[in-house]
Symmetry: none
Subunit: 218 residues, 2 copies
C-alpha cells in the first residue's frame, strides 16, 4: 500500500488507519517519488492526493496508466475540485474520496477496491508465440516456460508495450532501467542479444539500423 500525500499530518493519519487494517504502508510526498515507489514496491494499491506540489496526482495517474500499470488507485480530492474527480475516473482511477474524509471511509474504499479486483484476469502481453505474464513475471514461448532475468524481463516488457513502433536505445534504457540516461554504452544491445537467444528462432525483435529496435509485424 502506497500513500502519496504532501501534508505530513494527513499522511500520518492515513498511514495509521491503513496499518491498523493490516496494510504495510509506504509514504511518498511528491509525484516523482510516487512513480518511483510504485515501480519498485509494486504496492497492492495507491492512495493518491490530487493536490501535490510539482507533478500533481492526475499527472501521476496518467503516467502510470500510460506505462500500462494498473495498480488500483484511490484519488483524494478537495471538495471543490469536482473537475479532478471526473477527470480522474476517466484517466483510470478506481475510486475517489473527497477531502475532508473519515479515515474509516478511506479504509472501506480501499478494501472494496481490493475485493473488486480479486479474481481479475491477469495482465498479459502477447505477440505471436510470445506470451509475457506481467503478474507472474513469467514468459512462455510456444507454451514452454522460459526463465528471464529482471532486466531481460523489463526490456521485453518495454518492447511488447510499444507493439510495433520503433524504440530507440535511450527509450529502452528509460523504460527498463527506471531512468538512467543512455550514455553511449552497448548495454542495451547485449541484453537484446540475450533476449533473442532465449526467445529462440521465432524471435520477433528486429533491428532498425541507426535507430533502435522494433517488434516484427504480427
Amino acid at each position: 500500500m502506497l500513500v502519496v500525500e504532501d501534508d505530513p499530518a494527513i499522511a500520518e493519519l492515513e498511514r495509521r488507519f491503513l496499518a491498523r487494517e493490516g496494510f504495510g504502508v509506504h509514504l511518498a510526498t511528491d509525484g516523482d517519488a510516487a512513480l518511483d515507489a510504485v515501480r519498485r514496491l509494486r504496492p497492492v494499491a495507491v492512495v493518491l492526493d490530487v493536490g501535490l506540489p510539482g507533478r500533481d496526482g492526475i499527472s501521476v495517474l496518467t503516467a502510470l496508466r500510460a506505462a500500462d500499470d494498473w495498480t488500483p488507485v484511490v484519488l483524494a480530492t478537495a471538495r471543490d475540485e469536482e473537475v479532478d474527480r471526473v477527470l480522474g475516473l476517466e484517466v483510470g482511477a478506481d475510486d475517489y474520496v473527497t477531502k475532508p474524509f473519515s479515515p474509516r471511509e478511506l479504509v472501506a474504499r480501499v478494501k472494496a477496491i481490493l475485493r473488486r479486483q480479486d479474481g481479475r484476469p491477469r495482465r498479459l502481453l502477447e505477440h505471436g508465440p510470445v506470451r509475457l505474464d506481467l503478474d507472474r513475471r513469467a514468459l512462455a514461448v510456444d507454451g514452454a516456460a522460459v526463465e528471464l532475468t529482471p532486466t531481460e524481463f523489463n526490456l521485453l516488457e518495454a518492447l511488447l508495450a510499444t507493439d510495433g513502433r520503433v524504440v530507440t536505445r535511450a527509450e529502452l534504457m528509460a523504460e527498463a532501467w527506471g531512468q538512467a540516461d543512455y550514455s553511449g554504452t552497448r548495454t542495451v544491445d547485449v541484453h537484446v542479444a540475450q533476449l533473442r537467444a532465449k526467445l529462440g528462432p521465432g524471435c520477433p525483435i528486429e533491428t532498425v539500423r541507426g535507430v533502435g529496435y522494433r517488434l516484427a509485424g504480427s
Copy 2:
C-alpha cells in the same frame, strides 16, 4: 434469488446473468413489494437497489434486519451515494456493488456471499500437494499433517492467496505481519526458507530474483 430494481433494463440484465449461473430469479420494483417477496419466497439472497422510488433500499434493509431476517443482501448503489454504502454495511448489508457495475462482478459477489455463509464455510487453499485449512489453521502435504508456526502459516496463506502472482517482500510483510514496513531486513527470506524446508521437495515456492516470490505452476 430476488432482484429489487426499478429500472426494467437493469433488472433484466441482472436477471439474465444470475439465471445463467443457475439461480431462479424473481423481480420486485419497489420497497414494499420487496419486503413482501422476501417473506413469501424466502430467497437465498437479495440484490437490492438503493435508489428505489418510495421506500428506499436502506429502509428495506433496516426493516428486514429489524424483523430478524438475515437473508444475505448485496446493495447496488450509485457511485456518488457514498453515504449509502457505509450506512448500508452498518445496517447489515453483506456486500455492495457500485453502479455502473459489470454483471459478472455482481454474480461473483453473490456467489462469494453464498460461499461465505454456506453451511460449512470451511475455507481451503489448495495448490498441488499443499492443502491449507484456514479454519483449523492446519497444513497437509501429500495428505500428511505438517506443523506450522503462526508466522509461517500467515506467510503461506499470503502466498497461496495470490495464486501465482509475484508477491514482493514488502507485500508479504504487510500480509503476514499485519503492518511492519519492509525496511531492508532479511526476515521474509528466513521464514520462506523455513517454509520450504517444511513443505519438502515438492515445494511450489519460487524465487523471482530482484522482485519477490511466487507459486509455481499454472
